[in-house]
Symmetry: C2
Subunit: 132 residues, 2 copies
Amino acid sequence: MAVTTAETRLEERWRDILAVHARTMCEIDRALHPHGLGASDFEVLDILATERPEHGEQCRVQNLVGRVHLSQSALSRLIGRLEKDGLVERSVCAEDRRGVWVALTPKGRSLHAEVLPLQREVLRRMLAEQKG
Amino acid sequence: MAVTTAETRLEERWRDILAVHARTMCEIDRALHPHGLGASDFEVLDILATERPEHGEQCRVQNLVGRVHLSQSALSRLIGRLEKDGLVERSVCAEDRRGVWVALTPKGRSLHAEVLPLQREVLRRMLAEQKG
DNA sequence: GGCAACTAGTTGCACAGTCAACGATTGGCC
DNA sequence: GGCCAATCGTTGACTGTGCAACTAGTTGCC
C-alpha cells in the first residue's frame, strides 16, 4: 500500500510538472511570437544578455549548450536563425579556431529588453498561482 | 529589492521546471525507445490502460485531448501511428458518428504492462532526488 | 424539410528538434 | 614531425508538432 501511494504521488507530481510546463511554455510562445521569437530563442537571448560583455571567457556556443535544454545541432540552427534576423553575430574564436563566439547585436539587445517584461509577466501569471 | 528577489525566485523556479522536465522527458524517451515508443505514445497508452474498458463513456479522442498536452492534430497522428503498430483500434462512435472510439488491443495492453515499470523507474530516479 | 452554426477528427504545410555523419582543429604521444 | 583520438560546430535525413483549412456529422431555428 505504502508503495502504491508513493508511486501515485510520483505520478501526480510528474503530471503536475507536465501541465505547468506545457501551459507556461505555450503562453511564453504566444506572448513572444508577435515579436518573431519562440521560447527557446528567448532563452538564448536572455543568457547572452546577462553574460558580461567583456568576459574574455570560452567560445560561447559550447558554453550555451550546457545551459539550454537543446542538442548542439538544434542550438546551431537556432543561432543561425537569430543571426539571419540580425539579433546575434558569430565570429571565430582566435585561440581555438574550432570554436565560435556568439554575441548580441544592438538590435538583439534591444529586442531582448523589449520582450523581457513579457516573459516575466507570463511567469508571474502562470507560476504564482501554483500550490501555495 | 523585494521585487527583484521575487522575480529572481520566479526565474529560478522556471529554470528548475525546465531542467527537471527536460531531463525526465529525455530519460523516459531513452527508456521507451527500444520498445518503439516515445513519451507521448506512452502517455496515451497509459490513459487508455487505466480507463475502465466497459466504460460506455464518450468518444475517446475528444476525451484524450484534454488530458495530454498535445494539439488535436498531433493526437490524431499519434493514434494513427499506434494503430499502424497494432496497439490501438479506432472505431466510429455509433451515437455520434463524428466521433471516434479508441481502444487498446491486447497487444497494446501487454506492451503497456511491459513498459510501465520502466517509466515508473525513471520517475522514481529523476523526481525523488528533488529538493528534499 | 432546409439552412446556418457548431463540433469531431483528419490532412497539407511549414518549422523546430533529434541523431548520425562530416569537416576542421586541437592535443597527446611516439 | 606525424599520427590518432578527442572536441567544436555544421549539415543531411527524418520525425513530431502546431496552425489553418477541410470533410463529415450534429443541433437549432425558421
